[in-house]
């Protein structure tokens, strides 16, 4: 097991007081806090190594290029990809999904084709497909969700057909924390000749991930939810699929050659190697360095330990929340089938009231739709409050949260 008290010493922000109360940060599904190692790596990069990467011969550029490439390798190793060629750095999960939608979907999805998206998706895995369907004329079908928030695998298997070209499912729901069996989803998709795009925003920071074992085709995730800085994330893609794809954006870095033909008076362009083919322009080099440090930090702790700690906290919190008469928890009650996310409401109060009340005591939680409006509509919820844990949260923080929750019930 990990020691959250020792870990907390690495997170300067956790020493803060909010409204004269010690900060309790339970909004980790939105973004995580950053350890001093990540903050230090960013500072060190700008103080000692900052330069634009690739195609410069000077020392600083060499150092920056090496660090940026190493960051790709570190991330590849973290999810057991074949190498850095399969890791494209992007701004975050949203950009990774848009990259697949536009670089793969725009050319491969035709009228009468189908894209299956689950109803539990974050808006970022719904909206790009709906936008693209208006351009290419394909159909977007929504896979049903059971009453406890789990994916209805039987309905999904019935819905998929030879028309289905890609299945887009989150690994972990950002509303309920439910862990989807994406290995099963990928198997069924592949049996029908479809690809899989997995939104790993809520899974990669919290679970051990092995893309070879899961056999997914694409996995999108964000650095800022896994101790890294904002503005950096990654798209994993199977090498052979990425090789076949055309670029997402055009510019510098993603080309090997732009040659002007004096007869046709046009330019002919050769793409760069993977992953640079998909990283147009000067990338977020420092973000990559920060993400590498975050990955190293998580690896030192061990992802099995991260998972076990969050499972323990989730189980404890759900058990204690049952002491509150007016609190209703959504999703599965078994902590072992979910990551550290608990959605709930307090009878008679809006989720925003609950969040503002907790804020008064220095407890940060999220309220609203969490960018999963379709799922809220299915559950007939106007909104929900959500607590989400990470490696630095403790049972004592949960106890304090319950104390305040009991006060809220008196409102």
């Amino acid at each position: 097991m990990l020691d959250p008290y020792k870990i907390r010493e690495d997170f300067p922000i956790l020493k803060r007081k909010i409204n004269n109360h010690p900060l309790i940060y339970f909004d980790n599904a939105a973004t995580s806090q950053k350890p001093k190692q990540v903050i230090g790596a960013i500072k060190n990069f700008y103080e000692n190594h900052n330069a634009n990467i690739h195609r410069a011969v000077h020392t600083l550029s060499q150092e920056a290029s090496e660090l940026y490439e190493k960051a790709h390798e570190e991330v590849a190793n973290f999810i057991n990809a074949n190498g850095m060629e399969e890791i494209v750095f992007v701004r975050g999960t949203t950009e990774a999904i848009n990259l697949v939608a536009y670089a793969w979907g725009l050319r491969n999805l035709k009228k009468d084709d189908e894209v299956i998206v689950s109803l539990m998706e974050h808006h970022s895995n719904i909206v790009p497909w709906e936008i693209l369907s208006k351009i290419n004329g394909f159909n977007v079908k929504y896979a049903e969700v059971n009453g406890d928030g789990t994916l209805n695998y039987e309905a999904f298997a019935d819905m998929i057909s030879k028309k289905t070209k890609i299945v887009c499912v989150s690994h972990v729901s950002n509303f309920s924390g439910v862990i989807n069996d994406v290995k099963r989803v990928a198997r069924v998709a592949h049996e029908h000749g479809a690809l899989t795009l997995i939104d790993g925003a809520q899974s990669v920071p919290h679970l051990p991930i092995n893309v070879k074992d899961l056999d997914v085709d694409f996995l999108a995730f964000s650095g800022h939810k896994m101790l890294g800085p904002t503005g950096i994330g990654a798209l994993y893609g199977k090498r052979e699929i990425l090789e076949e794809m055309e670029p997402f954006q055009g510019g510098g870095e993603m080309i090997r050659e732009v040659s002007f033909n004096t007869i046709t008076r046009r330019c002919s362009i050769t793409w760069n190697d993977l992953p640079w083919k998909f990283e147009a322009g000067t990338p977020n080099v420092c973000g990559g360095v920060g993400l590498m440090e975050a990955v190293k930090y998580l690896k030192r702790i061990g992802m099995e330990n991260v998972k076990a700690h969050e499972c323990m906290l989730t189980e404890y919190a759900m058990q204690r929340m049952q002491e509150c008469q007016k609190v209703k928890i959504y999703g599965p009650k078994d902590a072992s089938v979910k990551c550290g996310i608990i959605p709930f409401n307090v009878e008679g109060l809006s989720s925003h009231d609950v969040a503002l009340f907790l804020d008064n005591y220095g407890i940060m939680i999220r309220s609203g739709f969490h960018c999963a409006q379709p799922l809220h509509e299915i559950f007939k919820l106007k909104s929900s409050a959500r607590v989400s844990f990470y490696i630095y949260n403790t049972r004592e923080e949960v106890d304090r949260f319950i104390e305040v929750l009991k006060e809220i019930e008196q409102v």
């Binding site: 809006s350 503002l356 009340f357 804020d359 008064n360």
Partner: protein, 89 residues
Amino acid sequence: MVAIEDYVARIEETCGKEKDFIVIFKYDKKEQTVAKILKKAKIEKSISAIIFELTFKNVSFRLYGTGKAIFRDLKDKSELQNVLVDLLL
């Protein structure tokens, strides 16, 4: 000339059909702003000086001691702006 922007840092509009408006008052003026609102609006209920349920010109809202307020059942942002002008100026 004083404007509501002198007191209001941000207005968060929630998603969905039934919109809530969460008004976040400027941190350095929050005590002054809360006092100003409490003077003008009618206090229906107060809970441990943390939450105040208030009404003002037939608009009910909740004010938090931390300098935030939730307004519901308003038509749109311009109605909110009008209420804030009357409350704060």
